[in-house]
């Protein structure tokens, strides 16, 4: 995956709680056997009506957010299905950073495997970013090394597990890393509890 450190762009405010992975990528688009090409389908039924026409007031269809790399949403983002097609679609559409007060566990894990940085901020901070993002065009700069998001002159600090930070900064292949622990795995397999 691609390393990630500094991301600068306009913020896309998606003012919803509990955005589930069925909304991020609907089931009719899960039948591909590749990892690529899902961006065109992201939030499909929020972006397009039943005739395939763009729904104008949905944020992703508003010209001022075009080219945005930073998506801001409300609590429990990415809940529901484990489909990694959801982060694939988000990344393929152009977002490298998702900011929310909380994330569902599986989605959160999936982000780190794909070079997407999930940032957790306080509810009040998210509400501030959403409000500013909706009212005008809010430019933001994310710095993973420093663990900061800067917008409208204000610096927001975020926490991240050092293991995942390192992985994102370096774009590491996790499987290659794990192979370095093969002796531990072999030793474990010798003493493993097994009945059948």
């Amino acid at each position: 995956m691609e390393p990630i450190n500094i991301v600068k762009s306009v913020v896309t405010p998606l003012n919803r709680k509990n955005v589930d992975t069925d909304q991020i990528i609907s089931k009719e688009f899960l039948k591909r056997i590749e990892r690529t090409g899902f961006g065109q389908f992201v939030f499909y039924h929020w972006r397009f009506d039943q005739d395939g026409q763009p729904i104008e007031d949905f944020v992703l269809n508003q010209p001022k957010y075009k080219g945005s790399k930073i998506l801001v949403a409300h609590e429990n983002f990415g809940c529901g299905s484990s489909r990694e097609h959801a982060p694939w679609a988000i990344l393929d559409y152009g977002f490298n950073v998702v900011v929310a007060p909380s994330f569902a566990d599986i989605f959160h894990n999936n982000c780190f495997k794909n070079g997407i940085l999930p940032i957790e901020l306080k509810v009040s901070e998210i509400e501030e970013l959403l409000a500013k993002g909706e009212q005008s065009v809010l430019e933001a700069e994310v710095n993973l090394q420093n663990q900061t998001l800067t917008a409208d002159g204000k610096v927001y600090h975020f926490e991240i597990n050092p293991y995942y930070k390192e992985m994102l900064l370096n774009g590491w292949d996790e499987i290659a890393l794990t192979f370095k622990y093969e002796d531990y795995i072999k030793n474990y397999e010798k003493k493993r509890v097994q009945f059948s």
Binding site: E34, F103, K113, I185, S196
Partner: protein
């Protein structure tokens, strides 16, 4: 101080630990299906990697298999995925129960049915409802496709140790109240993200009196409360269920396993990071009215009013949900008319579920405005039900009796609810568009779905039931 089962099983599986890093966790059983595995196998091929332990993998086809007119698959893309899984399993030596195989079925139905699911195991699958297997006292959780590839290559996963939570169900379960109602009530009471970052153990007499199939329904939907996994400590009921199954230990090995399994149960003085309690008196047959599984109420209630909520974001969420569902605040749930009934899914498609629904519809007929289908969870469930004559009860009542698969739970195959129509569904998710674009899903138990099929609207199943299910 005693340990809870979550700590016991987790600690047993740590291959490598370093402070400040996630644990490297060994995986005992890796289940695979056609939708979330192709990119993982492709990754192995591109990097010239092999499957480390094909003997600890088991694959089947469930998500987009047709449930009628087998073996014809009309959707060419679904066909590609199904063929790709068969090809991958052959190339990498992974055991597969493919379409038409007697062991085929929904991955979370066949694992337990074949005896692959056992207490104390770590079990993963590229599917969030892997939590189902926790019913046996396993740590079982859903993973993404990159993690599927990681497990295939290394038989391990890097995982941060989750916090532990106890959800205690206190009291005796009332007449006509099912496992589905317990879990829907828990999610409605505590919220869709209460379990985030935790593994939940369900405790209490009401839980330990349940059959294994009912326990699976509860653990299945722990993901709907946001939990990493949900489980129940093994007891004699657990052990009895496993005995004699195809991949279960046999003879002396079984006795040895039994002793070990029972020792995994949480110690009486075990503690948890968090404990929540729900009284059974709070639980009646449930119906969801909104667009996530926490948006549900007892059948005697009405669709809630925005004024019931204090937070503005909750009022907005209610309004959005009711607009999508085309419902008005204050409407009695029993006034909601439905056009479809789906009995199936990894939540409620086992023999116990089909019996419970059949018990309600026996001698009655599906309402003329309703199309009702039953999709057994596996070939084996279907066969056993047919041996009992359950298929005949459904067919005589006007239900369609299908082949096994995930079907209308997520509508990846041809079993779709049309836009604007309503479905009483025994599945697990009522998200927008889940059962078809614009479709409106109401989650219920199998007896409640059966009762709605006959009446054409929701009814309190307790009013038409004669004998306890």
């Amino acid at each position: 101080m005693g340990k809870n089962i979550i700590e016991k099983v987790w600690d047993q599986h740590v291959v490598y630990h370093e402070d400040g890093k996630p644990d490297l966790l060994y995986i005992d059983l890796h289940l695979l299906h056609e939708v979330t595995s192709p990119q993982a196998f492709e990754g192995l091929r591109l990097n010239h990697r092999k499957v480390r332990r094909p003997d600890l993998c088991f694959a089947t086809m469930d998500h987009n298999v047709p449930t009628k007119n087998l073996p014809i698959i009309n959707d060419p893309i679904a066909k590609t995925q199904i063929n790709t899984l068969a090809k991958n399993c052959e190339e990498f030596g992974v055991p597969l129960a493919d379409m038409g195989h007697p062991d085929q079925g929904i991955v979370h139905v066949i694992g337990p049915q074949l005896g692959l699911t056992q207490p104390g195991k770590t079990i993963v699958c590229g599917d969030s409802h892997t939590s189902t297997h926790g019913a046996f006292g396993a740590i079982a959780f859903g993973i993404g496709t990159s993690e599927v590839e990681h497990v295939l290559s290394t038989q391990t996963l890097w995982q941060s140790k989750p916090k532990t939570m106890q959800i205690h169900v206190k009291g005796e379960l009332g007449f006509g109240v099912t496992a589905k109602d317990i879990i829907l009530a828990i999610i409605a009471k505590f919220g869709i993200d209460v379990g985030t970052g935790h593994i939940v153990e369900f405790t209490g007499d009401a839980i330990h009196k349940l059959s294994m199939e009912e326990r699976m329904t509860i653990c299945n939907m722990s993901i709907e409360a946001g939990a990493k996994a949900g489980l129940i400590s093994p007891d004699e009921i657990t052990v009895d269920y496993i005995k004699g199954r195809k991949y279960a230990p046999q003879g002396d090995k079984f006795e040895e396993a039994k002793k070990y399994w029972l020792s995994l149960a949480s110690d009486p003085d075990a503690t948890y990071n968090k404990t929540l309690v729900i009284e059974t008196s709070e639980i009646e047959p449930f119906v969801t009215w909104g667009t996530n599984p926490s948006m549900g109420s007892g059948v005697s209630k009405t669709v809630p009013y925005a004024s019931n909520y204090t937070e503005e974001s909750d009022k907005q969420a209610l309004k959005k949900a009711l607009t999508y569902m085309d419902l008005q605040e204050g409407t009695p749930l029993t006034d909601i008319e439905i056009q479809h009934v789906f009995i199936g899914s990894c939540t409620n498609s086992r023999l116990h579920d089909l019996r419970a629904a059949a018990n309600v519809i026996k001698g009655k007929h599906v309402h003329p405005n309703v199309r009702a289908i039953v999709v057994p969870g596996s070939h084996s469930v279907k066969k056993l039900a047919e041996e009992e004559g359950i298929d005949k009860i459904f067919k005589d009542a006007g239900f369609e009796w299908r082949e096994s698969g995930c079907s209308m739970c997520l509508a990846m195959n041809e079993d779709v609810v049309p836009a604007g129509e309503r479905c009483a569904s025994t599945s697990n998710r009522n998200f927008e568009g889940r059962q078809g674009t614009g479709a409106r899903t109401h989650l219920v138990s199998p007896p409640m779905a059966a009762a709605a099929a006959i009446a054409g609207h929701f009814v309190d199943v307790r009013e038409i039931m004669n004998v306890p299910v």
